[in-house]
Symmetry: C2
Subunit: 437 residues, 2 copies
């Protein structure tokens, strides 16, 4: 028998690509558990799972209302004859026809536009899948990560927001998250408020970016940044006074409302009250919902209610969403209301692991040790028996140094061991006690 020569090592690294990661079996089990629980809960609320390809045509990704993400898109080279490299200066457009999706909302709207004639009038969608963003890698932020979204397309009323909030809260509860806080706001109120304080429409976007930092830099920090931007002093003073009042009100909408603009769309405040009241009554103390007129959220496509979930002192929200009533119409030509809520899947997995939540335990693991003389048909019959008793079972050949072998296997996480005994048919295995002391 030819002994193969010692293999030569290749000249490239075996690490995953920069900013991406391998998931080991222990984490994969927690992820599967979480996905199972989320699917189960969302399905009871009438959501049906949809899947879209990881790749989308680059024109869709660049023309969506989240175009601010353009720099973050992984772009895919054209193939075969369509790719012409010979001519002189190239534009990216000449080289690229596809891109990896950077969120699940843009693909969903495209999916709805393509398949709407086969979908119900009120379409309740559930998506779990990876997205890709070429962000600067940093601790806890990856270039491929999983998102978990529910969306309701076709409902104009606040029933959509309430269902999304209740379904997501229930899913978080099922995963073991308790006493989280839902922050709720409406872009129309936010805009009107900032306008009433004295800011001009062209200043709104920048003011929103600064307001969004309130969590991190505090109310004084927001005032300083606004003043440094050179906004009119009285305008900044107005907003500062309002925010202080909001904070003192502690999420109580009836108090906060007295500081909010009165000239808003008819029924807007009643709708907010209806959402908060209904969600609070269903929460029954398991979680909280507060009105937060300073909540902004990043995406520019939101048109109405926006919301986020905070958990304990974690410095990030674990879920967020809102209403985006204009996006579907841009791909279908028909105005269609839409609203979505996304769980930050990687974040909840991080918390589940850090806090050692009571995740459905893995199967106990058993090893059957055999010798080359054993009849494999008998060995595998014994394996089936253990499997039917709920044990994850592996079969290995016994080594000369049995004690060392058992120790090594115990170190690798096997809890049970047995020696197969061919010559004693009544007792085909001898259970050894764990070697792990």
């Amino acid at each position: 028998m030819n002994k193969p020569e010692k293999p030569k090592l290749p000249k490239f690294s075996v690490s995953p690509p920069r900013g991406m990661r391998d998931i080991l079996p222990e984490e994969a089990r927690i992820r599967d558990f979480a996905i199972f629980k989320i699917l189960e809960t969302y399905r009871k609320y009438g959501f049906g799972r949809v899947e879209t390809p990881a790749l989308e045509n680059i024109s869709l990704l660049l023309n969506s209302e989240s175009g601010e993400n353009e720099k973050l898109i992984f772009k895919v080279l054209k193939r075969g004859e369509k790719l012409e490299l010979s001519s002189e200066t190239k534009q990216i457009d000449d080289l690229v026809d596809l891109g990896l999706r950077f969120d699940l909302t843009v693909p969903l709207v495209r999916y709805y536009a393509a398949n709407r004639h086969e979908l119900p009038k009120v379409f309740k969608s559930l998506q779990i899948g990876p997205v890709w963003r070429a962000e600067r890698p940093q601790r806890g932020r990856f270039r491929q990560f999983t998102q978990c979204d529910i969306d309701i397309i076709g409902v104009e009323s606040e029933l959509a927001e309430i269902e999304l909030l209740l379904a997501t809260s229930e899913a978080l509860n099922q995963l073991g998250f308790k006493q989280f806080v839902i922050r709720f706001n409406d872009r129309r109120i936010l805009t009107k408020w900032v306008e009433q304080c004295g800011f001009l429409p062209e200043q709104f976007d920048n003011v929103f970016i600064i307001l969004d930092k309130l969590d991190k830099i505090g109310v004084e920090g927001v005032r300083d940044e606004l003043e440094n931007h050179g906004y009119v002093k009285t305008t900044v003073a107005n907003i500062f006074e309002n925010i202080s009042g909001f904070l003192a009100a502690n999420g109580d909408f009836s108090i906060i409302k007295s500081n909010l603009p009165t000239e808003v769309e008819e029924g807007l405040y009643q709708a907010v009250e209806r959402v908060i009241h209904t969600v609070r009554s269903q929460a029954a103390g398991r979680y909280t919902i507060v009105f937060d007129p300073t909540l902004v959220r990043g995406m520019s496509y939101y048109t109405g209610p926006i919301f986020e979930v905070e958990y304990r002192d974690y410095p990030f929200s674990i879920a967020g969403g809102g209403r985006y009533d204009r996006m579907v119409g841009k791909l279908t030509g028909v105005e269609t209301p839409a609203c979505g809520f996304s769980i930050g899947f990687e974040r909840i997995i991080t918390i589940l692991r850090e806090e050692a939540f009571a995740v459905e335990t893995a199967l106990e693991r058993l090893v059957i040790l055999i010798t080359p003389q054993d009849a494999l048909a008998d060995v595998f019959a014994v394996m089936n028996d253990f499997q039917s008793r709920g044990l994850a079972t592996s079969i290995f050949y016994q080594k000369k140094k049995l004690k060392k072998q058992l120790n090594d296997l115990a170190m690798e996480g096997y809890q049970h061991f047995c020696l197969f005994k061919a010559d004693e048919p009544q007792q085909t295995v001898e259970i050894l006690e764990s070697q792990q002391e």
Copy 2:
């Protein structure tokens, strides 16, 4: 309230990218069911799930032993400063640093090489995930599709093949597949046989490609193609005679063996017999295993046993795999035996849908119809009650034309309907009979 202007349609298509597809909720439910059953079965055999990123460094993909797939790789453009488009003629290497994985085996070997110090000596891996191939789109063949692999790294003996074959057969049984046929061969026997017939080593690859068509073109077709290639007549006559003998033996290894080379590695035939005997005894008539010395399988990285699963008259295998003992060593510098088995996930989903297998039924769907006067806290309490009885529940506002609304909802797949009755506290809902007749 401003009526928004009618949206302008964009200039691009809303279809998924060429050769890729959207998955509708009905199919997604079958896919989730299949994944759940497969995970459950494989975990009992001691396999643990691993996940790798969809993207790999392009050097890994181009240097793997499946380099024949190079043209099929979706390549990703470098980003930011690393991408230089200004200079003259471009090479693909200057533009690209990443690629989408085209199978799960190459990433697994890279994963093992990167993480082996945290993994057990015998590593039993389970992977389910999408892969991408820029193949010419054709019916039933997509450019993104899901694979489902188990692999055992670190086992030299045929115990690995047996575990892979039994676990996969059990998973197929659990999904409802019965009476499938496992075809089993060994690359070392195949090579020796072709050599003994008179072919030269440099002819093997081409002969294998022709042999692999036996299913489609029959034994006469194989002979014709070999003759057209100009191979020595007696050599072609030898192989033709052997194949006819094999076919007559009907998968019976003891008969086939008499036509096979005698000068093979010591113990090789005993190992084959051991695999076939053990798997057959465990199958207990639920499925079949036959020895097929003409089985080739595409990938050049196989070094020993190879196997495929056929189901009824479907013109494709539903699972396939084999031993690849050299691949891990090329990335780690340490010879490490490895063996894997892959279920063609899209193919089994196609069959499950075509044959209307008894897939775990979807939840029954119920609609609660309400009016704007109803107290939502009470409505959602009723929803919770239905959910706890196992119904997927949605809430809609009642329309003026109730009968039409109910008909439309029945068409969309809702089975149960009720009207919320706020004024009759003892009986909060009135169940309507289904309108679908």
